[in-house]
Symmetry: C2
Subunit: 473 residues, 2 copies
């Protein structure tokens, strides 16, 4: 009888285990994990800047077809992330649309802050400890990879603390100007004032093991209180410095590595035909008299084409592979990888640029998934920091049956897809040279390590909690 009961239990256990396997890792209890054996644990956080559902759908239609699937779509977990921003006051009111600085700060520190801040607190301007700093203190390696300047808001928030994101280099601390307009300053963050200096200076002095991206121009100014450049500070701090894909491939693997592959943002992979972007529909003179009169000429359809400037810089996959090669060790690591120009190209109304950049994110994810196959305790999360302006609108208006010209008041790109379809992509959040962000929740994808750990809906700060708990730090 005992035997029969036992056999039944064994059979049930086996069936339950089989079902658990079918459901992925859903049966692993959530919460902090301390590995029983000293196997390394690592978190790879991939951020598609501005990568909302519109951007993903536009890219999927182009890269895989309307009925196709991205690698993202084959991830076993897909959640939604609530984006939170506050006024720049202690206990300030909520702000409903974020920027990349406050959102990256929240992912890096678990704390909600205000627009423009890099891992400092709203109102009180206190430094907030980042997940990379926690990982370093626990003896784990850390890496930051981006297609933006490494001093840009998203990468900066994981390794620097400053009140204003545009104080990227030592020459910009007392006044940030663009187009002769003063946008802000960081005098309180000067080393002389007891601060940590500009973002570039903080990166040069950091313990981060691998920093790869653009932004070389931010390392040329003389560092505050020094007679040498910020780049020299980085060399003094033990970084090997590389500036091309060739040098990256040859770089020593036993030193900290700083790769600066362009003066600013890295060139993107794709551009519109002949460099075109979204354009304003051309209205006939009669249409200027009344919007229901006359005619309107929409921008001609175009294909996407390779951006010549892209050749020569390392791809996001190459940077990811170089980082993974250096970070793998017997203690584990934290790596942040950003595909930055989904957002930047959407600001500039360049859908092909965003599509190519999302393709780069897919390739980086593929590398991360390959790494996880041979390094089982690897949690991969892919998310966006905030939503963006681009909208996929009908190629033929729903109201095309009405005998008046129906067209967007904004700027329009009409993109021919490889499968022979036509996408109309609308940018109409403002009348300025750059579009705005938008406020919708963003997706979060994870490999099987996230199943059971990541709920279907979470606040952006929980990405920090989940990372810290997974790494056991």
């Amino acid at each position: 009888m005992i035997y029969r009961t036992c056999a039944l239990l064994a059979s049930l256990l086996s069936a339950t285990a089989a079902m658990a396997a079918m459901a992925g890792d859903a049966t692993r209890p959530p919460g902090p994990h301390v590995p029983e054996t000293p196997q390394p644990r690592q978190v790879i956080l991939i951020i598609g800047d501005g990568m909302d559902e519109q951007q993903i759908t536009i890219a999927r239609n182009y890269l895989g077809g309307a009925a196709g699937q991205l690698l993202l779509d084959r991830m076993p977990l897909r959640s939604a992330v609530q984006i939170l921003t506050t006024e720049d006051e202690v206990d300030g009111k909520p702000v409903y649309v974020a920027d990349s600085a406050n959102t990256a700060s929240t992912m890096a520190t678990g704390v909600i802050t205000s627009i423009g801040r890099i891992s400092t607190s709203a109102g009180s301007d206190q430094d907030l400890t980042t997940i990379a700093e926690l990982a370093e203190a626990a003896g784990l390696r850390t890496g930051i990879v981006t297609t933006a300047s490494v001093t840009d808001a998203t990468p900066a928030a994981f390794a620097a603390h400053i009140s204003f994101r545009l104080c990227e280099n030592a020459a910009s601390m007392e006044e940030v100007r663009t187009h002769d307009i003063v946008l802000g300053e960081c005098r309180a963050d000067l080393k002389a004032a007891g601060g940590k200096g500009s973002i570039a200076e903080q990166l040069a002095a950091s313990r981060v093991d691998v920093i790869l991206g653009g932004g070389g121009k931010h390392f040329t100014p003389v560092a505050e209180g020094e007679t040498v450049s910020t780049l020299d500070l980085a060399l003094r701090n033990g970084f090997a410095v590389v500036t091309s894909a060739g040098e990256l491939a040859q770089a020593a693997t036993d030193k900290k590595l700083l790769g600066l592959f362009a003066p600013g943002t890295l060139p993107v992979r794709l551009q519109g035909e002949d460099g075109r972007e979204a354009e304003t529909p051309e209205r006939s003179w009669l249409n200027h008299l009344h919007p229901y009169l006359g005619s309107v000429t929409l921008p001609p359809p175009m294909r996407c084409e390779p951006n010549p400037a892209f050749s020569g810089v390392p791809t996001l996959r190459q940077m990811t592979d170089a980082a993974l090669q250096r970070l793998a060790n017997d203690r584990g690591f934290f790596l942040m990888i950003e595909s930055a120009s989904i957002d930047k190209q959407s600001h500039e109304r360049k859908p092909c640029g965003s599509i190519g950049e999302l393709e780069q994110l897919e390739e980086a994810l593929d590398s991360a998934l390959q790494f996880a196959r041979t390094h089982p305790h690897t949690l991969i999360m892919v998310t966006a920091d905030h939503s963006q302006a681009a909208q996929l609108i009908p190629y033929e208006s729903l109201f095309a049956g009405f005998p008046i010209p129906v067209f967007t008041p904004g700027k329009l790109a009409r993109v021919i897809t490889p499968e022979g379809g036509h996408m109309a992509i609308n940018y109409a959040t403002n009348n300025f040279i750059m579009e705005e962000h938008t406020g919708a929740a963003v997706p979060l994808f994870s490999n099987s390590e996230g199943v059971g750990r990541i709920p279907p809906f979470l606040q952006q700060s929980q990405i920090f909690d989940i990372t810290r708990d997974y790494l056991g730090i």
Copy 2:
């Protein structure tokens, strides 16, 4: 030894079961289910028309606060749905932005079709069997509840077959006109031509047990080939007819029920202060000379207020409760519930209307969840049919530091939230009296019955497959 092994197995089994419980129903194997006992199984499919991530975030900010949660956010499963549309040809090319007719047809029949079609095939114009018809044939009850006209595209697709969605009544078959413009016709669908007649006539003749919503005006025309109205046809077909919340509460529960609570779409719950909607920013004369000159006055902020016309019509919750009361039986049922005016109010640039309508969807979901507590084999899915125009944009532009007026080229509503924040909501997909749909993938939420059955990313046609498999029909 056997005992100790057995105790270990029992302990492991218990732990595995506990973990499985923590992970919801994730361990139930996916795929078709035939219940072992004759317990009824039911599917409640709730469609928020146009309910994309922008709409959900806007509603959450207003109804629950930036850091709050909707009932949707507490559902154990959240996936993304790929929306597919085709040209009106056999093997036509993809169309990247859908309408409510083709998407509801896909959910109802599992087949991808073309814009404007109600459960008929693209190009070949064949009738496509709907999930409601399959359920009826299997002896299950069926219900359709909507805040639109019951003849509107989404409800129609579950119980009718016609080539053009606007042929809603017997008087619109030979020509559909609006504003003196001919939009289409359905002569091939006339009964005299071997068709099934208008949508209202098909509903009146249908086997659906409960049909609740608006659209009374579509039942007054004389039915084709008859001397009586379409409403009389419905009465002849066994429907009890009610036209007010009071009559709904008193209606017999042993007859088929047709509720028509308004001539067309039901009034919505919320409206902008003093009935205001999104408005065009007012540009100074200098700004008309050049967009970087002069000044622009944005629409003043407003609160949402109750819509007086809403009182007197049943709420979506009341209609849901009435339907559930009539549909519960020992064989099971299929119920489609639509919150229609998230989309319709967004077309009209009325964010408060969309917010109130999403609140109605939440209440209907609450009723469905309560029902599922006492009827365990109830799969609840909540999804949208397509994305919509509204965008949550920054209340203060990212580029406010530039000394020029930065503002949307479209129409803007600035809404004060109950928590004291300010949302800026942009409508800028066209210059017409109504906005366009957009093409992004939409969310799908499910109760625990969906966990393990619904993947993180699915095509819209799979909603039909999942429903059919769950009901075992």
